[in-house]
């Protein structure tokens, strides 16, 4: 291969192919992601801030947004505690069935949200569910109510924290923890002062991803919530509702709010991650 090559300071060999590939990738991502996403921004601000002000003064939208935030925060807290604990168990402990469990943990990533909703309805449904009627007679309603929405949201985002924390736990190894133990630290002290600081960024990363996922869950929530306006209608359900009712402006504005939060999450993560790798 005797073509002319420029060797950049980074040591990358640049050939015409390099530029072709670069162009193809940029064009693909522009057409598939960048342009469509930017159009939502354009549509939202077509009439300046009126459509945004419009939805923020609509009490139903505000209620839906609050419900979404509340549900997402609860689901994220549950998944963070569960995720960190489960990661520690999977990496640091030995028990029968560990490999099976480790594989099953990823299941929620590949299950259809509609199936998630159906599964929860089959168990917690108030009329025919396996456990639903018992819980309901004890005064605890799951399906068509906030707990159901929280469960659906927690289900779909379940593996995200674990997937971030497990590799880091593997990577940091056990020596620092052993050193802390030999210096007299108890398990709790070792976790708080040694392990937690080491996995801190992985946890943050997992939490941010879970938050984005939780705020945006749609299918599973649609099945379990009953979609009752002002009670169990979340922000994503609101987008659908508005669009189907020919309120395109409202739909775009609400979608813009949601997109903004998720893009912010991604940008935060993009900023955090390289910093972490430099350490």
């Amino acid at each position: 291969m005797a073509e002319t090559r420029t060797v950049a300071r980074t040591g990358v060999r640049r050939t015409p192919t390099t530029y072709v590939l670069r162009f193809v990738v940029a064009a693909y991502l522009f057409l598939l992601v960048a342009w469509p996403v930017s159009l939502v921004v354009v549509h939202t601000f077509e009439d300046g801030f009126t459509s945004l002000e419009g939805i923020l003064s609509d009490p139903d939208v505000v209620t839906a947004l609050w419900l979404t935030v509340r549900v997402a925060v609860i689901a994220v807290v549950i998944n963070t505690v569960f995720g960190v604990g489960m990661s520690l168990l999977l990496v640091r402990q030995e028990f029968p069935g560990k490999r099976l469990l480790s594989a099953l943990i990823d299941l929620p990533l590949s299950v259809s949200p509609i199936v998630v909703g159906l599964a929860l309805v089959l168990v917690y449904g108030g009329r025919n569910g396996w456990l639903g009627p018992t819980l309901e007679s004890a005064g605890f309603r799951v399906i068509f109510s906030t707990p159901g929405i929280v469960m659906a949201t927690a289900f779909v985002a379940l593996p995200l924290v674990i997937r971030e924390v497990v590799p880091v736990l593997h990577e940091i190894g056990t020596e620092q923890e052993q050193a802390a133990r030999s210096l007299g630290a108890s398990s709790a002290q070792t976790f708080r002062r040694i392990t937690l600081p080491a996995i801190k960024w992985a946890v943050v990363y997992g939490v941010v991803l879970s938050l984005a996922r939780s705020l945006g869950e749609f299918g599973a929530v649609k099945v379990v919530s009953g979609n009752v306006l002002g009670q169990t209608r979340t922000a994503t359900l609101m987008v659908e509702e508005k669009y189907l009712n020919f309120d395109q402006q409202g739909a775009y504005a609400t979608a813009f709010l949601l997109a903004m939060v998720s893009v912010a999450c991604i940008v935060i993560v993009a900023i955090i991650r390289p910093k972490e790798e430099r350490r």
């Binding site: 940029a26 490999r99 949200p113 987008v239 979608a255 993560v269």
Partner: protein
């Protein structure tokens, strides 16, 4: 020396709580789907999933997901390659773009695609209510999987091996085919599996985009939802079981691959 401990009391209690929650949230509900499907007997199950409309939905979903996966294998590997090996201004922006489909609420994803490829398309391309809408939606939501699986493997690849191949007279194409490709194939397969699973299970992004026309653009998840809405839970469970089997197959494949790629557990 690896020191994993056998369970002490605290960890035992922790495992108990974690497993209880995991069972209540995931295992028992998913089993309920399979049990409900089985409860109607094999005949009912078979009749449901081979019923004309359901079978059409499953064919469409699996077909489009497979097609998208093929595209992702090529484009995802290409994108990962450019992100790892090329350096240019704006690369960080591309990195962010790749994660957007993962973080964007699916209903918003549908709306977003409708903005460029709907009836008011500035490009004059209107896929709304077409089969290609399903393809486009799948392509969007599955974008990150192959890229994100291949990227780290590619980054860790030993440059010296490539240099060795080159010094032995291999062209760049040969080096890629014989040296690089074999070491990233497990990562590509894992990404492809995830992308296929995600495609097959997609719902949210299609709601506004595909029109959910029976026999034309109705995917499996939509079909299940309409069974639920018609209070036909057994039928919904039967179709859902098909999707669950696909998910499980992917999980098993991933488990085998991940042991080779990153080594969890």
């Amino acid at each position: 020396m690896s020191t994993t401990n056998t369970l002490d009391r605290t960890s035992g209690v922790g495992l108990g709580i974690a497993m209880t929650w995991f069972s209540l949230l995931v295992l028992i509900p998913l089993s309920a789907v399979v049990f409900t499907a089985a409860g109607g007997g094999w005949d009912l199950f078979w009749r449901t999933v081979t019923g004309e409309q359901t079978a059409a939905a499953i064919r469409l979903t699996v077909g489009q997901a497979a097609l998208v996966t093929v595209v992702n294998v090529v484009m995802g590997t290409l994108i990962a390659w450019v992100l790892v090996r090329d350096h240019f201004r704006g690369k960080a922006l591309l990195e962010v773009l790749i994660d957007i489909p993962f973080a964007l609420p699916t209903i918003v994803a549908g709306l977003v695609l409708l903005a460029l490829y709907g009836k008011d398309s500035p490009l004059g391309i209107d896929v709304a209510n077409q089969r290609s809408a399903v393809f486009l939606a799948f392509l969007f939501v599955t974008l990150p999987f192959v890229v994100r699986m291949v990227q780290p493997t590619l980054a860790e690849l030993d440059k010296e091996v490539e240099e060795a191949a080159a010094s032995l007279g291999a062209s760049r194409v040969t080096t890629f085919r014989r040296v690089i490709l074999p070491s990233i194939v497990p990562a590509i397969t894992a990404g492809a599996a995830l992308s296929f699973a995600r495609g097959v299970s997609e719902y949210g992004s299609l709601v506004l985009l595909s029109g959910n026309l029976p026999f034309r653009t109705e995917v499996t998840s939509v079909r299940i939802l309409s069974s639920i809405e018609n209070n036909n839970l057994a039928g919904a469970a039967a179709t859902a079981t098909v999707l669950l089997v696909i998910s499980l197959a992917v999980i098993v494949l991933l488990d085998v691959l991940q042991r080779r790629v990153s080594g969890r557990g």
